[in-house]
Amino acid sequence: MLTTAITISLVLVGAAVGLTLIRLALGPTMPDRILALDTLAIDAIALVVILGLLNATALSFEAALLLAIMGFVGTVALCKFLIGRSIID
């Protein structure tokens, strides 16, 4: 049952990634792309956790946590850049 659920969810998340990539490509504005990138990171977390379930390993947790942290940092940096072209001032 779980395996089926995992397969279904993989398909769903895969579709989500595809849609997000469309937004990334279409834009039209830079904030749209950043939002898409941020979403992509979260999608990736979902993917990692699901794959962890699939492989029955607890070892993907750190990677997922790191994805969350680094995705956030990336978004912050990109936004700060667009607000004032300066990340640290």
Partner: protein, 100 residues
């Protein structure tokens, strides 16, 4: 068995929410409306998936692992900040567009 069922339900629901966020991202008309999708749906979706992982781990080992919950916790803390920042950029962007 029940745990596995719960996990299955959670994971599919979560994945659905993740997809929902991305559908919003594509379908909604402008950046401010699009912001709503990922900040809410996707974050919650991940929360559900992680919860599924916890439950599944319980189903397998019998251990309650709270470790995974740190991920949605972190996301719930940071998502508003991300949205806030992207919103600010969008405001600035919109202002710049109006000027031109």
């Amino acid at each position: 068995m029940i745990a596995e069922a719960i996990a299955s339900l959670l994971i599919v629901t979560g994945a659905a929410f993740v997809l929902l966020g991305s559908i919003g991202l594509v379908r909604l008309p402008d950046i401010f409306t699009r912001l709503h999708g990922p900040t809410k749906a996707t974050t919650l979706g991940v929360g559900a998936i992680v919860a599924a992982s916890s439950v599944a781990a319980y189903a397998v080992n019998g251990d309650i692992s709270l470790r995974e919950l740190t991920i949605p916790l972190f996301l719930f803390i940071t998502a508003p900040v991300s949205a806030h920042l992207i919103g600010k950029v969008a405001l600035k962007d919109a202002a710049a567009r109006r000027q031109n």
